[in-house]
């Protein structure tokens, strides 16, 4: 079973202090640590697990600058066989354009499954995967937490809201957007990444793909990025740990909980 997995490099933002860029439509990225989008890490692991049980190959693809090759090398170290980076140059990208670029490259490859993450941790939009599926004419499912290939079909689990999964059968070839928790992504060492440097990594400039101007025109545009609107927010409890603890116990008791 040949699997293609789409990966994106995103900034680590959880512990970071984000600064809005001067133009006001993005963030300052210089000081941020870049890493593989969490969802894509699970997607790579799933692709490699499928290869290990079913045979076949795994190809990892990203659209990004040369720094984003780090996520491809990581995917190669996890067990992908080949990697492709599409260089977008200075082009402005949105989910639509990204899906069109990916589709143009993937349509000429051999595959039974295409995996993406549910969403990217920067734009949080969750659209690239399913747009890609529709452009390629593939069956698809979003927010997948289980995949078991069964011949020309796969039995899949989709996570719904409220602690409910939906099991269904889907015809292959198919595109699935992978949800976190579907597996346990393996650890990759620096050594492993260095060794994977020998594997094939192809770079394609987007200009070579012959996409129409329409396909390369974003459908949406960020006009402004802003800090979350002010709310009354939490009443902050300051002080040393002991006095904070005393205050918290007092509050909890006041709210009618006996501790």
């Amino acid at each position: 079973m040949d699997v293609i997995v789409c990966v994106k490099q995103v900034p680590e933002v959880i512990d970071a202090d984000l600064k809005i860029s001067r133009e006001g439509t993005g963030i300052e990225k210089e000081d941020l640590v870049m890493h593989i989008n969490d969802w894509d890490n699970y997607a790579v692991e799933e692709a490699v697990c499928i290869k290990e049980t079913q045979g076949g190959t795994v190809t990892a693809i990203t659209i990004g600058d040369d720094e984003s090759e780090d996520v491809l090398r990581r995917a190669l170290a996890m067990g992908a066989d080949k990697a492709i980076r599409i260089d977008p140059g200075e082009r402005e990208l949105d989910g639509f354009v990204i899906s069109k670029i990916l589709a143009k490259v993937i349509k000429d490859l051999e595959y039974h499954l295409v995996l993406t993450g549910v969403q990217a941790d920067d734009d949080n939009s969750g659209m690239v995967g399913i747009m890609l599926a529709e452009t390629l004419g593939l069956s698809h499912a979003a927010v997948v937490t289980g995949v078991e290939p069964e011949g020309d079909l796969a039995r899949i689990r989709v996570e719904l809201e409220g602690g409910m999964d939906e099991v269904s059968r889907i015809q292959l070839p198919s595109l699935l957007t992978i949800q976190t928790g579907i597996n346990e992504p393996r650890y990759v060492s620096i050594m492993g990444i260095r060794k994977a440097g020998k594997k094939e990594l192809t770079v394609i400039p987007v200009a070579n793909l012959g996409l129409s101007e329409d396909d390369l025109t974003p459908r949406t545009r960020i006009e402004e990025v802003f800090l979350p609107p002010e709310t009354t927010g939490a009443e902050m409890i300051e002080g040393d740990a002991a006095s904070v603890a005393a205050e918290l116990i007092k509050i909890i008791k006041e709210k009618g909980v006996s501790i």
Binding site: N124, A133, S139, A141, D165, G181, I237, I251
Partner: protein
Amino acid sequence: MGEIYVVAEHRKGEVREITFEMLFKARELCRTFSHRLTALLLAGKDAGFADDLAKRADRVLVFENDRLETFNSDLHKEILNRVIQKDQPFMTWIAHTSWGMDLAPALSVKTGLPLATDCVDIQAEDGRPIVIRQIYSGKLFSRVSFKESPGYLMTVRSGAFLPPDDAEMEPGEVLKQDIPADLAEPRKTFVEFVDTGAGEIDITQADLLVSIGRGIGEEENIATIRELADRMGATLSCSRPVVDKNWLPKFHQVGTSGKSVRPKVYLALGISGAFQHVAGITGAGTVIAVNKDRKAPIFRVADYGVADDLFKVANALKEKLAGA
């Protein structure tokens, strides 16, 4: 501005709350611009949802067919594409749920209409929609515009627009529609629903929840918080990454894909406050958050906050309780 079409979502015989939220917000916009609001219902035979929707829209277009009993993105996409091509509504809204995430991007490519997902606000300016979305895990917001188009698609976040109790009005028309005769066989077939939330403990029944997030760092650290919970007579719950890593079973998970809880007090330790998490604690009496990042979004929804290391606070709590 023109008409707004809202796609109803239902599951296991019930219209889902997000549908009413979308209809409420869409009606507000339609009123401002004196336009008609249409609900689209794709459901099994005699689903009986149409009247409920009619109380909240000017009209309901009903497509009933056995094949539509459970959601199927292939069938939904085909039917909605035809409706949109024929009627050309200004905006079409879909829930930002698992099903909506499976449908909307495909429909966008199929119809050629631009899409913005997970919108928390929708307005119209100079005949074009403008939406507000969260980015970078809710640390920032963005104002998004669209390329000019005959129509626009958006998916709408649950809980963004809360209808008042009296949101009903004079019932609109219910119009039965024919299912296209040439619908292709879907490539995905439903097998079953599986409940993943059941387990030994029921976090929805607790008065006091001590909840841990990724800030717990290591699996070994859970023991010390479990001890604290025990000492407080509290139940342990968690955010999604803790379950994803298999550190706690799924029945501990709070949030959209876990459980909605309503304790008297919810003590969140090392949880950033992503929308999928906080959607599960809207019913909590009091939320106390401990997070070392003073800017963490959780402090926007918490009643009380402590900007400090969770272990420091947990240990101090234990000491105080031991001494008390």
